[in-house]
């Protein structure tokens, strides 16, 4: 049994609309602390939309509407007095395609801390080194911190983006199909990294690769047609799915 304090994010009856189109219907689920939660499902099932609701990135799309609650450490993210900027500092995000800034490796990682007003060179140095080490890319870039981030390979860029997110010391790290643009070797390095990160962070990862979900996650939620069909312990969900739709998806009958 999981105590309440082990739940970081509690989603209750979440509906989401793009204009008149209802993209998510009545989604309720819990994200547990220091665990990796995978969101799986076929393309267009709403899993990425759901992920982006957890740090209010969907606010940026005009004409969208949210109903229901996303409780994060006891506070509803969609209360009127909540500033999305503060939320995004506490809940970091890594995107599908690596998207480093056209700046140096150092300045990419230091970008977030600088936003919060940290100017002290020594403190920034420390943060950058620590974040790069945490993201398992330090050894590869330690002699080229002044080089452009765009000179790195795709897999390195993605780990740099993870380092950049970690530099904000977020409580939760959201990853939106972080390996879909990477080759198998780069993918396995990111997967190894996710395993390590859960010691310090709570990770939510969207993937359409079921093997990946099985490999890296503790809990898995299966989304289909805007609904959360089933959620549970990853091993249990993949071996003994309770819902027929889940079974059909994981046995490859659709999707």
């Amino acid at each position: 049994m999981v105590a309440t304090s082990d739940i970081v994010i509690e989603v209750r009856d979440l509906d989401f609309y793009y204009g008149d189109i209802k993209a998510l219907r009545g989604v309720s689920l819990n994200i547990k602390r220091n665990q990796v939660t995978a969101l799986i499902g076929p393309s267009g099932c709403g899993k990425s939309t759901f992920l982006r609701l957890l740090n209010r990135m969907n606010d940026l799309i005009p004409g969208t509407r949210v109903e229901g609650q996303v409780m994060f450490e006891g506070q509803n993210l969609y209360d009127e007095d909540v500033n999305p900027v503060d939320i995004r500092r506490r809940i970091g995000m890594v995107f599908q395609k690596p998207n480093p800034f056209p700046k140096s490796i150092f300045n990419n990682v230091a970008y977030g801390p600088r936003l919060t007003g940290i100017k002290d060179k020594k403190k920034l140095d420390e943060l950058v080194v620590r974040s790069l080490k945490q993201a398992a890319i330090w050894e590869e870039v330690k002699n080229s911190l002044d080089k452009s981030a765009l000179s790195l390979s795709g897999g390195q860029q993605q780990r740099l983006c993870i380092a950049r997110a970690l530099a904000m010391a977020p409580e939760v790290l959201l990853m939106d199909e972080p390996t879909s643009a990477l080759d198998p070797i780069a993918t396995s390095r990111i997967e190894e990294l996710v395993e390590v990160l859960k010691k310090d962070y709570t990770v939510v990862i969207v993937t359409h690769n079921m093997q990946q979900a099985a490999r890296v996650s503790d809990d898995t939620a299966f989304f289909y047609m805007g609904e959360m069909v089933e959620m549970g312990n990853t091993e249990r969900l993949f071996t003994k799915p309770e819902k027929q739709q889940t079974e059909h998806y994981i046995t490859g009958r659709f999707g």
């Binding site: 990135m57 500092r89 995000m93 800034f101 056209p102």
Partner: protein, 290 residues
């Protein structure tokens, strides 16, 4: 037709088509080259060190164009100081803040039409608003404002295009790190767009340097020996000086070489400004890797 014959036919049409296109392109180059050579031939005789560094003398039949060079320099700098901040700010609003809709369409339409307004209309507008109503008089300030407004649509257009070319993933990455919209614009969007903003704007500024009509009523004076000491002074300017030499001289045979010399200086100046813009663009292209 046999296969070989039809292939021959296709090759021939291709050759003819290419030939015509080449000829037309060549015509453009020849015309341009002709004008430039003519100006160099006519103007080079007048241009020398004292021409560039002295004031006109003897009812403009002798001496140089130094005050006009200085005047055009001030007007160019002044109009940039006005058009750049206003233009970049407007472009930031249009591309980053404004929501798509009829209002935005109307503003864009307005800016496009603005760019097509004849420059003499700007001159009259400047005369009415800056010279008379705001009381700046015929001055560098009034002329810079008028020229600044003339090139504003160019600056807005170039800047907006440059902002649009900044990938939205940069903005997303920044916002996801907890940056505010304003921080994102200042720290990511603007630096990435700056070379494009500058290139487009400098081309506009080059145009401002060569305009006559907008400064006729607002900044330029027929003749002054004195260099300006304040933004409220009137100045001589190269384009207006050419106009004066070409239309108001009584000793045409004596003023004509000076006139061509002035044209050559002005053309070189505008060309120099454009080359500067091209250098920035080339360097930017080399650096840009997204």
């Amino acid at each position: 037709m046999t296969g070989a014959a039809s292939r021959r036919y296709r090759m021939m049409t291709e050759r003819v088509a290419f030939g015509i296109i080449r000829l037309l392109a060549g015509l453009v180059v020849i015309t341009l080259g002709g004008i430039v050579l003519f100006l160099i031939y006519q103007g080079a005789r007048a241009v020398n060190w004292s021409f560039l560094t002295e004031a006109p003398r003897d009812a403009m039949t002798k001496g140089g164009i130094f005050p006009a060079i200085i005047g055009t320099f001030y007007l160019t700098i002044g109009s940039s100081l006005i058009a750049l901040p206003l233009g970049v700010a407007s472009a930031i609003y249009l591309s980053e803040y404004a929501r798509e809709g009829w209002l935005l369409k109307l503003i864009r339409l307005g800016i496009q039409n603005w760019a097509g307004v004849p420059s003499v209309v700007f001159g009259l507008y400047g005369l009415a608003l800056f010279v008379v109503f705001l009381g700046f008089g015929v001055s560098i300030l009034a002329g810079s404002l008028t020229l600044g407004f003339l090139i504003l649509p160019t600056v807005i257009g170039a800047s907006e295009e440059a902002f649009r070319q900044v990938p939205s993933t940069f903005r997303e990455a920044s916002l996801a790190l907890g940056a505010t919209k304003f921080q994102t614009i200042c720290r990511v969007v603007l630096p990435s767009a700056l070379p494009g903003v500058l290139t487009g704007s400098i081309l506009g500024i080059g145009r401002a340097a060569g305009e006559t009509a907008p400064i006729m009523f607002t900044a330029a004076t027929f003749y002054t020996k004195h260099l300006p000491t304040s933004p409220l002074d009137q100045v001589m300017a190269l384009p207006y000086h050419i106009y004066v030499l070409a239309t108001s001289g009584t000793h045409i045979d004596q003023t004509r070489p000076l006139q061509y010399g002035t044209v050559l200086v002005l053309i070189s100046l505008v060309l120099g400004i454009n080359i500067f813009a091209i250098i920035i663009r080339t360097r930017m292209r080399r650096k840009k890797t997204w």
